[in-house]
Symmetry: C5
Subunit: 219 residues, 5 copies
Amino acid sequence: MGFPGSGLVGSIALQYMVDQLEFTQIGSMNSKYFPPLAMMNRGVINIPVRIFEKENLAAIVADIPVHPSICYEVAKGIMDWLLPFKIREVVTIAGIITNETEKRVFGVATSEHALPRIQESTIILPIGSISGIASSFLIECRIRNIDAFGLLGETINAPDPRASAAIIEVLNKMYGLELDVQPLLEQADEIESTMHKLAEQVQTTEALPKKEQQLPMYG
Amino acid sequence: MGFPGSGLVGSIALQYMVDQLEFTQIGSMNSKYFPPLAMMNRGVINIPVRIFEKENLAAIVADIPVHPSICYEVAKGIMDWLLPFKIREVVTIAGIITNETEKRVFGVATSEHALPRIQESTIILPIGSISGIASSFLIECRIRNIDAFGLLGETINAPDPRASAAIIEVLNKMYGLELDVQPLLEQADEIESTMHKLAEQVQTTEALPKKEQQLPMYG
Amino acid sequence: MGFPGSGLVGSIALQYMVDQLEFTQIGSMNSKYFPPLAMMNRGVINIPVRIFEKENLAAIVADIPVHPSICYEVAKGIMDWLLPFKIREVVTIAGIITNETEKRVFGVATSEHALPRIQESTIILPIGSISGIASSFLIECRIRNIDAFGLLGETINAPDPRASAAIIEVLNKMYGLELDVQPLLEQADEIESTMHKLAEQVQTTEALPKKEQQLPMYG
Amino acid sequence: MGFPGSGLVGSIALQYMVDQLEFTQIGSMNSKYFPPLAMMNRGVINIPVRIFEKENLAAIVADIPVHPSICYEVAKGIMDWLLPFKIREVVTIAGIITNETEKRVFGVATSEHALPRIQESTIILPIGSISGIASSFLIECRIRNIDAFGLLGETINAPDPRASAAIIEVLNKMYGLELDVQPLLEQADEIESTMHKLAEQVQTTEALPKKEQQLPMYG
Amino acid sequence: MGFPGSGLVGSIALQYMVDQLEFTQIGSMNSKYFPPLAMMNRGVINIPVRIFEKENLAAIVADIPVHPSICYEVAKGIMDWLLPFKIREVVTIAGIITNETEKRVFGVATSEHALPRIQESTIILPIGSISGIASSFLIECRIRNIDAFGLLGETINAPDPRASAAIIEVLNKMYGLELDVQPLLEQADEIESTMHKLAEQVQTTEALPKKEQQLPMYG
């Protein structure tokens, strides 16, 4: 599960994985509860949530943030839909903002017996809480007795392919993907430079709600 | 589709097009989910959303901003209603605020094979996201496999007929409209001067919610 | 239709009209969607919306602001209810805050052929938008092909009988009412002086939501 | 009706009345629309709304503020429930914050013929509006042609037994209660001193919504 | 009932009790009305609400704050579910923030005859109000004539095992638990030091709602 969160860590990591390993897109999701928001990739817009598979792996990649008030239902809905597929385990990816420049990956699991699966590739989080859609997936899996893991990439408050690369290194260990992160790191340079250029030209705008103030209005 | 957004680019462009090319109004829309807001034109108020056609072109021109929470349903509703008409392609217009004084037009499409249609007349957006009703139309079209294009006129945070004129130049190339933008640019001068005059006299007011404070109130 | 807006222009004008011309009250309205708010008049409280008639004129006078989210439905509900009465035309009154001390009346109509009806007694608004319940009535009338007029009295952000008097001058011309505004202007002096005296003694309070902080609270 | 408002005037006055005159508690009310809030009295918590009677008098005493969005329905619900009891008149108590140190009581009524009932014991309010549950009761009574009175005790923004005592003096005149307010004024001294002591030790806290920030959270 | 509140007093106290006295987990609760939030304990995430029992005691331990708008229904739902179990009494734990460094425990009850049960082990609160889920449980119990007690641990605005230890001393007296709080106080040192270390590295982030601002957005 790669939903956007701090640093878009999950979205970038899984989109890179499905692109590089040539997963097959088997479906997509949209919902009236999703915000009206489309990401674009070299001029082509994406459907907000996309489902891919390759051999015994499936990936759900999302571009849109899920509002806290519907996290429970989105997570429950997806887990209900996955039930017939006899899932062995679930990995959900999120970001965690720190003041460090390292790109460590922290880990949590839904049971003590599952912890060893991520004990070597992540730093187990001793205390605290996890929020958002990632927490909803983890709780939902725990209730259904499905082993699930939360991978939290150390990141900054901006798209962060380097944190995503660190996540992929963990996935490489967990699933033997042998996915090369070098192109992602190079893409990181490119993305950062494009964004820097765009930022100079373009101001972010939340267009609609402010429209009413553009013309004199009487009432 | 010309819904208002930054600079009212889409509304102004399409209203100008239907006026100048003498499209026939074939319908209008109102909804309890629309804000209570009527635009006026030389003293006559408009119905918030109006539908026009001429030959093989149809235009939906809106005066009211669509709240993010209903963008999905408005876009889906309109696309459902359009289905029987065998649409060839959809163009949705929005504004994009930059710090430049240029009036460039950026473009996105719903598929890679559709990109060439706008590659010469717009600057393809390499990365980023598009929000609001425009994104809902684009996603809805992509899901239904209808080619759709987003034209994003570079604009400012005020009614901007010059950005609308740039959009019309793109529509001219896409549909061979041969629509002269000179009157629109002159209208721009007129609008700007009228607005400037009004701004001196009239303060914008969101009247109702503040009414309660006008009389002493006890409770 | 006299709903409160900037300066309470519509409420004051119509209440004065029904009082002076001795209209008969034929009904009243309340709704769970109205705010809990009662205006009082010499110690007697009013029902929020009151309906009056005299000969071929009817007046709907409201004391309560209508929240934007229900303007559509209130306007539609009232127009539905009015349908059997074969209405010839509708006038809705609102306020418009300007920096001028003049008390001009601006006008809009639902169609070009109706404009001449108000062209001499008002200043036709060339551009802009009108919001709130007044816009909902105008749109609703335009959809039903009923001629309707918006009269916008130039006002300040306080009860303004002088702006209401200017509106009555327009109604005098439109309906031959020959209603003398002199008592209203004198009432204006009285209201202003009463309010000034009250303002010295009484602080406006929105009582209920703050109550929770009055006693130490534990949780 | 004694619902809390500015100074908790109504709650304190009626609770004192039912305690001193030994009214019998005949019922209580709770609702999912009430805020989660319990007042305590010497260590024992109250049900939010309590109903008492004695001879031909009934009292509804409330500890919880009623949110504006449900005032209409709470007032309508209570009046519906009271209908079979053939009510002669209703008195609803509220507070009114002024800059004066006096403890005057202002009055409003639902009809002109009812005004004399309170003309000597209160100062009739000439103009203004009344909001909250008190206004809902008054409007509801006026619609049902039940004489109702609003008593507005001049108060400050803190529990104010002295304003409640002034209200009781009015009730004494209206209903011949001969209720001694001296103990309430002494209780006022006690409450003020207890609250002062508590205020030194205890900070008001709105506990739950802030809890999420207490532990490091990742998402 | 141990729901989080100021200082997480109730959650920490009851979790410690069920761990140390080896209660059996007999159930858990999740709800779409709960916020998407999972607490973790040495890398393993918890289901938000957990139910334990041992002999004649049951404990409901919660990690998630309950929003005011659903406190009534959560408390009513849990009390409905408990009804068949013939409950003798209910204890609900909350925190109370003061400026003191002491760790006193304040107490309230649902009836005067129940007060002696806590009169020696707590300081009875003379006046004030209690809010949130704790107040909903107390009101619900009072309506059902079930003796219930509110224990309010003096705390600070951060996880506070020392306040929880004070609560446990009261529970020791009420139920003869003989639970040693020494390990909890040592755990307090450990928690405080872990949190201090984490606080240096990790910034709290409410990830999702801010995501939209990370990429340039057009609309």
